[in-house]
């Protein structure tokens, strides 16, 4: 073929560039995320009270949207009490409500976020709880 060597070298470079992210992240990227909910604060609660603000499946899928809407209600309207689907009331706050139970950001929040390669900038401002280095 015409310009054969240039094409082959180009193809090799192309394949290299495309597969580079997968090569460099290796096993880390394919490990299934395993968010841990066994923080001391959660373990202190009796077993039947270990519920999040909303059901697990709901939080898994919609926590981003919930937090966005919480943010607008608190910051822009000044209303700080949330009544969940079961009628229980919570103070709307990432730092002081969510992170109080989920005090293990690196073993909980980061698990799925790293897997999905997203880096939400919440904790640039909202102070993440101190974690013991284990």
């Amino acid at each position: 073929m015409y310009n054969g060597w240039k094409i082959i070298i180009g193809l090799i470079i192309f394949v290299g560039l495309i597969t580079a992210p997968f090569i460099f992240s290796g096993k880390k990227a394919t490990a299934k995320p395993d968010p841990k909910v066994d923080t001391p604060e959660i373990l202190k609660l009796p077993e039947n009270e270990r519920k999040c603000v909303e059901a697990k499946s709901y939080m898994k899928g919609e926590h981003m949207k919930l937090l966005n809407q919480w943010r607008d209600w608190v910051v822009r309207d000044g209303d700080t009490i949330y009544t969940n689907a079961e009628g229980k009331r919570y103070t709307i706050s990432l730092q002081n409500t969510c992170m109080k139970c989920h005090s293990n950001k690196t073993k909980f929040c980061d698990e799925c976020h790293n897997y999905a390669a997203v880096s939400p900038y919440c904790w640039d401002c909202h102070i993440a709880p101190k974690e013991k280095k284990s």
Partner: protein, 262 residues
């Protein structure tokens, strides 16, 4: 059917725009949280126009000023940056001749004591705020209780509000503030800010929501009187009706809510 490349690209482009645009419109209209699920804290302090009276008779020693400034800085994780170009200040001291330049400028016969008297200055939470008028994203906005609020999530850091504020009340995060917050002073119940957003006094909205007075007011031992200017029976109104009071640059029409009495 046959079409040429130009027409194909046109149809592809328009379908993409309609597709993406349509889905985002539908998505944004779908509300997750019902309005009925959100309510204010019943203990919260409510008012129509929060304001301050700064009673200068109660500020005599340096400690009187520092107490208020440090209370605010601590509760809100205000960083202490040495470079004066990058400093962040929410409430601070300024002498009379600089805080009230219309009064003090080039007045040779003004009492020296008054000229150099320190005054606590902060955001005036104006009733007609020029900063709110210019913000292109409503990141700074006026709440219904009168507080000129900051939405740090929305601020794009254009600093138009800083140009508009006639009182120099606003600070910009020229760099990441976190290295400048001493760990022992950190308030873990309140966020820090990040580089690239503007910040200022927000009248302790988070304390008002829990029924607490602003941090500086509590630390001032009566030097700062806080209340609803719209309520004729509030303490601030009573003080204002019985004293001569003045505000910073009232001729600009901003209607500031921070009054000073002697």
């Amino acid at each position: 059917m046959s079409m040429d490349r130009k027409e194909f690209l046109k149809i592809a482009g328009i379908s993409t725009i309609l597709g993406i645009g349509g889905t985002s419109v539908v998505n944004s209209l779908r509300n997750l949280v019902e309005a009925s699920q959100i309510s204010p804290n019943p203990e919260a302090l409510t008012g129509k126009r929060w304001g301050f009276v700064v009673d200068m008779s109660k500020f005599n020693t340096d400690e009187d000023y520092q107490r208020c400034i440090e209370a605010c800085d601590k509760v809100h994780n205000v960083p202490h940056i040495n470079n004066p170009k990058h400093e962040i200040k929410w409430i601070w001291k300024e002498t009379y001749e600089h805080a009230f330049p219309g009064q003090g400028t080039e007045d040779k016969y003004l009492s020296e004591k008054i000229k150099h008297m320190p005054f606590l200055v902060l955001c005036n939470h104006c009733d007609n705020p020029p900063c709110v008028r210019v913000c292109p994203t409503k990141a700074t906005f006026k709440r219904k209780d009168g507080i000129v609020m900051m939405d740090m999530h929305r601020c794009i850091g254009c600093r138009f509000c800083m140009a508009a504020c006639p009182y120099g009340a606003r600070s910009f995060n020229w760099r990441d503030p976190r290295p400048f917050i001493k760990e022992e002073n950190e308030n873990r119940e309140f966020p820090t800010r990040t580089k690239g957003v503007v910040e200022k006094c927000t009248l302790c909205y988070e304390r008002l929501a829990k029924g607490l007075k602003p941090a500086c007011v509590e630390a001032s031992k009566g030097g700062l009187i806080f209340g609803d200017l719209d309520d004729p029976n509030s303490e601030v109104r009573k003080v204002l009706s019985s004293h001569y009071s003045f505000r910073r640059k009232p001729e600009l029409g901003t209607r500031p809510s921070v009054y000073y009495i002697f």
